[in-house]
């Protein structure tokens, strides 16, 4: 439950650098957010308006607080946990839209600061960038991508430097695409190779996804297994572990799907994709003939997927299939 809290004048609600998940709304009194501008080092004092939320960004992102929240005169606030805050704002989207506007302004400001600090030489002219990308795809026989980009070039830069060349190339790309039309889109996807300078583990992961997309399940399972074993840092491990189970499911090996995802839940009882894990376990039971067990897991999945409409629809369809 949101909790009313009273702060005395000159006390502090939180300090810069603190990590905690509480969000506040000011009911009465005066509280100021004190920080230093990251660019100029100047002191910034932002007085909070009555009725305004504060501490939102650091709580939602689990980041350290970016400012001191100092009480100027006795203040009453209401304190929310993140789930409580989410409940309140989803019931009143006007608040979220207002926050989105504030945050997108902040994002725009910091983004332009970062861009201006990056070496200007690194900034590619967008027209040149488009032409370069299209040429790259053309040379790598990905004619549909080349066509798409060159068409966009002509729309965006009708008087551009490369217009004549682009017109000719576009025609060639069209002819080549037709000649190539026997080759399926799936094969094209499989021909894309991840970049040379991607770390080994990343390459392996993308190779696995590519095999999966081309329905080479055994190969994909093998590769995902390697990622799980070798990804010490963990950037791809979580994704690979999830995809490993999905590949078993798509392959039709339901026993292995159930085994793997059950273990995953055991290891991470608060897995971020819990609803989906339950969905796959339920469906795997259903498809291997254990209708009751299947339904039980799907119902659990339904309960955890309350805020994921797409998944909920999939779960409902799976339940309906089992009931027939």
């Amino acid at each position: 439950m949101p909790k009313p809290v009273v702060f005395k004048s000159s006390s502090v609600v939180y300090f810069q650098g603190d990590v905690d998940d509480r969000i506040y709304i000011l009911k009465s009194g005066r509280i100021v957010l004190r920080s230093r501008d990251i660019e100029t080092g100047q002191d910034i004092n932002d007085l909070i308006q009555t009725g305004e939320f504060f501490g939102v960004k650091s709580a939602l992102g689990h980041f350290p607080r970016e400012e001191d929240a100092v009480v100027l005169s006795d203040a009453q606030v209401v304190q929310f946990s993140v789930p409580e805050f989410e409940q309140v704002v989803t019931a009143n989207t006007r608040i979220i839209i207002k926050m989105l506007k504030v945050f997108s302004n902040q994002l725009r400001r910091i983004h332009s600061k970062v861009s201006s600090m990056l070496n200007q030489e690194d900034q590619v002219d967008p027209a040149e960038g488009l032409h370069h990308s299209a040429t790259f795809y053309f040379q790598n026989r990905q004619y549909e991508h080349a066509k798409y980009i060159w068409q966009r070039y002509l729309e965006l830069y009708p008087n551009g430097r490369h217009v004549n060349e682009v017109r000719q190339q576009l025609e060639r790309a069209g002819q080549s695409a037709q000649a190539q039309s026997s080759r399926s889109a799936a094969q094209e996807v499989s021909q894309r190779r991840p970049g040379e300078d991607l770390p080994e583990i990343g390459k392996l992961y993308f190779e696995a996804e590519s095999s999966f997309a081309n329905e080479k399940f055994d190969e994909a399972i093998d590769l995902f297994q390697k990622v799980i074993e070798h990804d010490g840092q963990g950037e791809y491990k979580g994704k690979a572990s999830f995809e490993f189970g999905r590949a078993h499911f798509e392959k039709g090996d339901y026993a292995a799907t159930i085994r793997h995802f059950s273990q995953l839940i055991k290891d991470a009882p608060r897995h971020p994709q819990m609803a989906e894990l339950l969905y796959y376990i339920g469906s795997a039971y259903g498809r291997s003939g254990s209708v009751d067990k299947g339904k039980a897991f799907l119902n659990k999945a339904r309960a955890s997927a309350s805020d994921e409409p797409v998944l909920r629809r999939k779960v409902d369809q799976a339940i309906a299939r089992l009931e027939n």
Partner: protein, 210 residues
């Protein structure tokens, strides 16, 4: 589903480009079905940056006016997307508070990431800048804060990108750090021997420069 917002849904066949790097962006997308690959063409190679799954957002930097797309998006399966733009933004957000919340969380993370990147770029000392890139990656890893040695699956080119420095310059700094036994360089990873040592290095340089 989605409270009758199907009219904003867009179906993209497998293998098709959704948008291209450098194209001006005025809409962003929520994946409903299928997977989307994010890639960049760098010189003569195509670098795969990420693969996104249903429920994930992409192209949201389009909220920045006139900003060209920073990467391309390609459908890896037959994909269904919900397309957001200025005209339908408020209607979609009002009808889908969960999406609004996802977007809010995404913005929070982007603001933090950009601020963090700014802190790196503000350092004049190149060694401190490179060290701070490792600290940023460390902070994103959710590991035990008491851990000392730490492994990063990055190349010196990745570090150069984050530090806003030239690849040659970064290779020189990385060699210096390796000679000082602060890091160990392998073909596919870099190991920082003592992350706290780099923290001290960066914070003392930051103080000196202020």
């Amino acid at each position: 589903m989605m409270g009758g917002f199907d009219r904003f849904a867009k179906k993209i066949p497998k293998g098709r480009m959704i948008f291209c790097e450098y194209e001006p962006g005025n809409s962003f997308y929520l994946i409903q079905e299928g997977r989307v690959q994010i890639t960049k063409v760098m010189g003569n190679i195509e670098k795969a940056i990420d693969i996104l799954h249903p429920g994930e957002l992409f192209g949201e930097m389009a909220i920045l006016e006139e900003a060209p797309r920073s990467a391309s998006a390609i459908a890896l399966d037959d994909v269904t997307l919900l397309e957001f733009n200025r005209a339908n933004f408020e209607i979609l957000m009002k009808g889908n508070p969960q999406i609004a919340l996802t977007l809010l969380r995404t913005f929070v993370k982007r603001i933090y990431d950009q601020r963090r990147r700014f802190m790196i770029l503000k350092l004049n000392d190149v060694q401190a800048r490179v060290a701070d890139v490792f600290l940023m990656l460390f902070e994103g890893m959710n590991t035990d804060p008491d851990q000392t040695s730490c492994e990063f699956s990055v190349t010196s080119n990745d570090v150069a990108h984050w530090a806003g420095l030239g690849p040659d310059q970064v290779r020189t700094v990385i060699n210096q750090l390796a000679n000082q036994r602060r890091i160990e360089v392998y073909p596919n990873k870099i190991v920082v021997t003592n992350i706290h040592d780099l923290q001290r290095l960066v914070s003392s340089r930051r103080r000196e420069e202020e």
